[in-house]
Every structure is written in structure tokens, then in C-alpha cells.
């Protein structure tokens, strides 16, 4: 496995962006995989009753999808040493063929030895859905 070249990195270096499509089917699959069967993730009736605009994606699904922008870039998911997000806005997933597209963009925000901090922006229909999302990767862990 080849780690990104630390010498070629600087604060502000952009990672290749990623767009992930969230559909109702995907939410159902994630509910089963995670055992999070909160009905806000599959029932419009329940979601609107609790004041949401409709069925929303699991925050952890968005969080996991967002980290792919980092793991695809670094090439080895075990290099991730820390990852944190705030769930600021819900990802509303309509019951249709196209669902909701979430776009993830990331750039290097700090470099400390072999540890690179990456800030991630996640947006759906032009609205930011994650706040203060950042991951730390230790390039020395790549392939270790």
C-alpha cells in the first residue's frame, strides 16, 4: 500500500471529492446492519409527527460515508486514528428512485509529523449536514 507522500502535502491540500447517493433501500439496509430501527429512518408518518421534514438518514451512515473520502485517499482505513463529527442538519431521503446525493469534500487542515488532520465538508442539496467533521490519519500506520 502506498501512503500519500507527506512531502507533497501542505495545509490546504484538497482530497478527491466523493458523492454518495442515499436511498430508502440503503437506510433500511443500514438500519438492519446497525440495529438502529428508529422509525425516523424509515417511516414518513413517524418522522413528520416528530417535526422532521421526512425520513432522514442515520447520522452514523452519513459519518461513515464521509470518512470514505479520507480512507479512499489514504488507501488504508487502519491509518485513521481519530474521527469526529457534529450532526448539524438532517439528510432528508425522499421515497423515490434518486434519493438524496451527499457530496463530501475534504482538505488538509494540519500536519504534525506523520499525523495529518483532514477537515471534511458534507453537503446535501447545498446545505451543510455535518459540522466540525475532522479525521486524523497517521501515515506511518499505512500498510503497517
Amino acid at each position: 500500500m502506498t501512503a500519500p507522500d507527506i512531502e507533497g502535502l501542505e495545509v490546504g491540500t484538497e482530497l478527491p471529492p466523493l458523492t454518495v447517493r442515499f436511498t430508502r433501500e440503503r437506510l433500511v439496509r443500514y438500519a438492519g446492519a446497525s440495529t438502529d430501527f428508529n422509525p425516523i429512518h424509515y417511516s414518513d408518518h413517524f418522522a413528520t409527527q416528530v417535526g422532521l421534514p421526512g425520513v432522514i438518514a442515520h447520522g452514523m451512515l452519513t459519518m461513515g460515508a464521509a470518512l470514505r473520502v479520507v480512507t479512499d485517499w489514504v488507501g488504508d482505513p487502519t491509518a485513521v486514528t481519530a474521527y469526529a463529527v457534529r450532526f448539524t442538519r438532517p439528510v432528508v431521503v425522499p421515497d423515490d428512485d434518486s434519493g438524496a446525493d451527499v457530496t463530501f469534500e475534504a482538505k488538509v487542515t494540519a500536519i504534525d509529523g506523520s499525523v495529518v488532520t483532514v477537515g471534511i465538508d458534507a453537503s446535501c442539496a447545498g446545505v451543510k449536514v455535518l459540522g466540525a467533521a475532522r479525521a486524523e490519519v497517521d501515515l506511518e500506520r499505512v500498510g503497517a
Partner: protein, 81 residues
């Protein structure tokens, strides 16, 4: 998971909104690892009918060494259901 099914706590997953989530990883999990996860409710703040619950989970391996941590904030409303 036990946090949402403990009858004494009276929390319901369906009234929970996930506010934030933080992970740290000391080392990757490997096939065959046996780990224990210990959840601590660090803080509960009340704000106009909702509880803001801060939790942290410590994950340790069989020799007691830390594998990683997971910390989260949940917003729970005491509904009438």
C-alpha cells in the same frame, strides 16, 4: 444498546437524536480480538423538556489495553408516548 433498553433510564431510541460522535483508535481491531466496551454516562443536562446526554465508551482488549474510545452526545425528549 443497553442504554436504550435499561428500564430504569426510561430512554427510548425513537425519541433520540444523535448530536455528535467522536472516535479514537489506538490500534485496528483484528479478526479474533475479544474486546469489552464500557459505556459511561458522563453528563445529563436538562433543557426545556429534553435531556442532553453525554456518553463515552472505552473499548479494551483481553489484557486490559485500550483499543479505542467512542464518545457521543444524544438529545432525548421525554415524550408522552
Amino acid at each position: 444498546q443497553p442504554m436504550f433498553t435499561d428500564p430504569e433510564l426510561g430512554l427510548a431510541l425513537r425519541r433520540i437524536v444523535h448530536g455528535d460522535q467522536r472516535f479514537s483508535y489506538r490500534r485496528p481491531l483484528r479478526a479474533g480480538d475479544v474486546v469489552a466496551a464500557t459505556l459511561t454516562i458522563d453528563q445529563v443536562r436538562m433543557r426545556s423538556g429534553t435531556e442532553i446526554i453525554s456518553t463515552s465508551v472505552l473499548i479494551t482488549d483481553e489484557s486490559g489495553d485500550e483499543v479505542g474510545t467512542a464518545a457521543a452526545t444524544f438529545v432525548h425528549s421525554r415524550g408522552t408516548e
